[in-house]
Amino acid sequence: MTERFHAGFFEAGGIAFTVETNRPGFAALVADVFRDLRVGRRGPSAVVFEVLHRGVDPPANPWGVWRAGEQREMTVSDGYVLTYLLWEVSRLMFERTGERVHLHGAALVHDGRALVLAGPSHAGKSTLAAWLTHRGWGYLTDEAALVDPDTLIVSPFWRPINVRRPGPLDSIVAGLPGDGNGDAERLVPASTIGTLAPATPLAGIAFPCYTAKDEAGIGPLAPAAALLELTQHFPGLIADGRAGFRRLARLVAAVPAYTLRFHDLDEAERVLRTLVGRRS
């Protein structure tokens, strides 16, 4: 029987899970990169992810991933396996979202008020989230914001931030623990660059758009347009069909939405700080 290594007990949005692997190096990597999700020992209800190296050499993709004994993916590369595991963990959380709304975006806190940065991939959400965290905003999540449409509370899901390289965060993340492998992306525990925030009421949703030269600017986005943005790019977000859509519609009706153009991260931070500081 192959030896198993236990990476630790973790929690994602209140869902307990563990990670087991047959490679000690990978167990150590998960323990390190998932450090902000770590919790004390959990009972048998924790979902077990098995991430097993099948012993094949490159160029074959050697990793297989199981969730609660069910095969999920059998050909995952060395450079992608941690990202894939994180995606599976996020998926587990979304499947058990309950009455909460899942937004594809990061969530940060300033002055006790949360801001969700939503939008399509490559819009600059993660880069901005990491920068804001580095500049003193509290970190709630990246890529996966869970919001209660009634209380408007954003739940923390302290997953590592996905930082692209090369990029403006290179100097910040250099030398920090995290998954590197020399690839174009790197998962960085948010607590290594800033502070983790507890559940916080939502003040607004911003849709960032990186531009090559424009000065940072923010404009209002009508609720219908915001709902369209949130659903058109990510139809899978409407979990739970009609009921999920109603919850999402209720949320955008209750919270102001904005478009954010930015080029310089510090300028974007200043504009967002002013925005969150506004009291309705």
Binding site: A224, I238, R242, R246, A253
Partner: protein, 96 residues
């Protein structure tokens, strides 16, 4: 009175409507797709409750103060677009 006036196109029961002022976003639970309705299309959509097209035109004419002959073609076009998007059930307004 024209040939379409008695047709009764109706909002499909699989469509969920989220209304924001004069605009709407529709969710089709069969396909998971969403549609945005501008104020004009939204005004037509909200009247597609089983009444005849003639009554829809009359209702909008009363609300806007515009003559039926002026808004009739726009209403037919909007209904045809909604029908083409699969958002209606009942007698379509096709052929317009």
């Amino acid at each position: 009175m024209n040939e379409h006036d008695h047709a009764r196109p109706t909002r499909h029961p699989s469509i969920e409507t989220a209304l924001f002022g004069s605009e709407a976003v529709l969710y089709d639970e069969r396909s998971g797709t969403v549609h945005h309705l501008n104020p004009s299309a939204c005004a037509v959509w909200l009247l597609l409750d089983g009444r005849s097209i003639g009554d829809v035109v009359a209702g909008l004419a009363e609300r806007t103060g515009l003559p039926r002959t002026e808004i009739g073609p726009d209403v037919l076009r909007a209904i045809a677009d909604l029908d083409e998007a699969g958002l209606l059930e009942g007698e379509p307004a096709s052929g317009s």
